[in-house]
């Protein structure tokens, strides 16, 4: 693969402001603003607060998972089973709902199932030392497979009306419950990654797990906790998505893992681990939400949007590298 090259050490560092202006996050923010302006020119319906509020559902559920996924990828792992965790959580909630469980039990079961799925992944990866890519490809099949066993080609419908609050409710004016959750989680994950010693250990593990181990970090425990977090966030996304759709099918949230990973990578997180930030992921979530919503207003079909997501994923990694190669 790539061989490490000696770094060029400049005579003096660029000023903090210049560095911040040249950062990936600043570039991304400029892109977000450009898309916002382009959209508002392209469609007269774009700048309506209610439309924008509806648009936020395009990214809030995925972004919840993306925050935890960002930390997991920074630590050098990946979880491809998140969409299947959603399917399993939603199925468990569906079974409980059919048995007449109250809303708080449904939510608890959703989060709890996500936690268990995350613990299962974490046990196999951190506990047994298996590679996370294959483990989560396996559990991706297993978790959704269980949903298929339970549901076959059927569906659970008829969730209680109180339950719809999570995916369809509003906290205040146009601000939905999901949007509020997104904002709160963005702040929490930002603080966790950038403001605590736990966050520093995540970077340390991603840069050099062996060195981290020698400096006294419980590497496997941290990785296990990150899988737990990703599982719980997938459970939360399952609660929101199930509540919003009002039904559970085994094919729920198909392809979410791709969009979540795209969001994280678009947010400037190094897919090989070691660097990245939560603000970057937040802006990336907004960019992806704005792009899909804008294209939706222009009547672009969903599968064409997925081409654009795929191109974005490759493009955002390829362009800076091609630019660097071209400048050499």
């Amino acid at each position: 693969m790539s061989t490490p090259t000696p770094r060029q050490i400049p005579d003096r560092l660029a000023s903090p402001l210049a560095r911040r202006l040249k950062s990936w996050e600043a570039l991304l923010l400029a892109v977000a603003i450009a898309i916002f302006i382009a959209n508002s020119i392209a469609s007269p319906y774009f700048l309506d607060p209610w439309n924008l509020s509806d648009a936020s559902f395009n990214f809030t559920e995925k972004a919840m998972i993306a925050f935890a996924m960002a930390m997991l990828i920074i630590a050098g792992d990946i979880d491809l089973s998140v969409a299947s965790i959603i399917a399993l959580c939603s199925t468990v909630m569906g079974v409980a709902m059919m048995a007449g469980a109250p809303v708080w039990v449904l939510v608890g079961l959703g989060l709890g199932t996500g936690l268990l799925c995350g613990a299962f992944n974490g046990l196999l990866v951190a506990g047994m030392g298996l590679p996370s890519i294959v483990v989560t490809i396996g559990t991706m099949s297993l978790f959704r497979g269980i949903s298929y066993i339970v549901l076959g080609d059927g569906a659970f419908t008829g969730y209680p009306s109180d339950f719809s609050w999570f995916g369809q409710g509003y906290v205040w004016w146009v601000f939905s419950v999901e949007l509020a959750l997104f904002a709160a989680l963005a702040v929490m994950f930002g603080l966790l990654l950038h403001g605590t010693s736990f966050g520093r250990t995540v970077y340390a593990i991603g840069n050099n797990a062996t060195a981290a181990r020698f400096s006294g970090i419980r590497v496997d425990r941290v990785r296990f906790i990150l899988f737990l977090l990703t599982g719980v966030m997938s459970g939360l996304a399952a609660v929101c998505l199930t509540s919003r759709l009002g039904s559970t099918r085994p094919s729920i949230a198909t392809g979410f893992e791709l969009e979540v990973v795209t969001m994280v990578v678009l947010g400037g997180v190094n897919i090989l681990g070691g660097s990245g930030s939560i603000p970057g992921v937040v802006i990336a979530a907004l960019v992806m939400g704005l792009v899909t919503f804008g294209l939706g207003l222009l009547n672009v079909p969903g599968i064409v949007m997925s081409i654009i997501v795929g191109l974005l994923l490759i493009g955002v990694i390829a362009l800076p590298r091609l630019w660097a190669m071209w400048r050499k």
Partner: protein, 321 residues
Amino acid sequence: MWKSREAILALAVLALLAVIASRFPAFILPGNLARVFTDTSPLIILALGQMVVILTKCIDLSVAANLALCGMIAAMLNGMGVPLPLILLIVLALGAALGAVNGLLVWKVNIPSIVVTLGTMTIYRGVIFLLTDGKWINAHQMTDGFKAFPRTSILGLPVMGWIAILTVIAVAVLVNRTPLGRAFYAVGGNPHAAVYTGISVGRTQFVAFVLSGALAGLAGYLWVARYAVAYVDIAGGFELDVVAACVIGGIAIAGGAGSVTGCLLGALFLGIVKNALPVIGISPFWQMAISGTAILIAIAFNARGQGPKGRIILKQAEHRA
């Protein structure tokens, strides 16, 4: 050690057949086994390509989308009256070209293969939609020759099965008997050492992706011709089965280790399970969970005795102190 792993897997496959046969003897009649093998052919062909990619420390998640796109193109060319041999050449070339896109991004731009193929997976499928506007190409829109070729029986086995056998032999020769085959193992086993022996890591990975793509293209025609239908979602999620076949077959996901025999056995294991479920009377909806469980058992089994590296270093340090 490698031999014993494949022996264990072969025993597992035989045990599986024995269990099924104990209740449904008709399952192991030669005619039915030939049908199961033919049904598993696309999986075998794709798993062999995937094996070569995994040997070089990469992964190709775009194979199923590549298959679907090439299959659709084959069906469309058939509709335009292009003769079958030419169609076969075109799908091989197109599959190779789609693989080359993956390979170039991995080789020249140095993007991790999982990201590249996760992206191209959706792009290739999206392209099918752009080409067809979501329309299906059904059996009556395909010529009889186009549909009949994979089903033509030679010595009791359809052509599709023979193509899988030929692919197994070709890949086995390539991997075991040529310098390129050694390079696949060298690149995955130790990239730095490979560079010192004069092997270009990136180029070898590129070749692996081209091979995987070409095989996916071939499988695309076979798939569409056999099932006599082409649409956007054919072989959806099939890439997971392909990776599963490799992992069950003992192909090390970290690269550099694995054999054609193992890969073939892994694919056969999944193929037998898939074909046996309806016979035993278990809903086909169990298939996904079973292959997931099989993947997990296989990786746990493959990793026996390989502790995390950091721990070993620590032990050495303790010994010295």
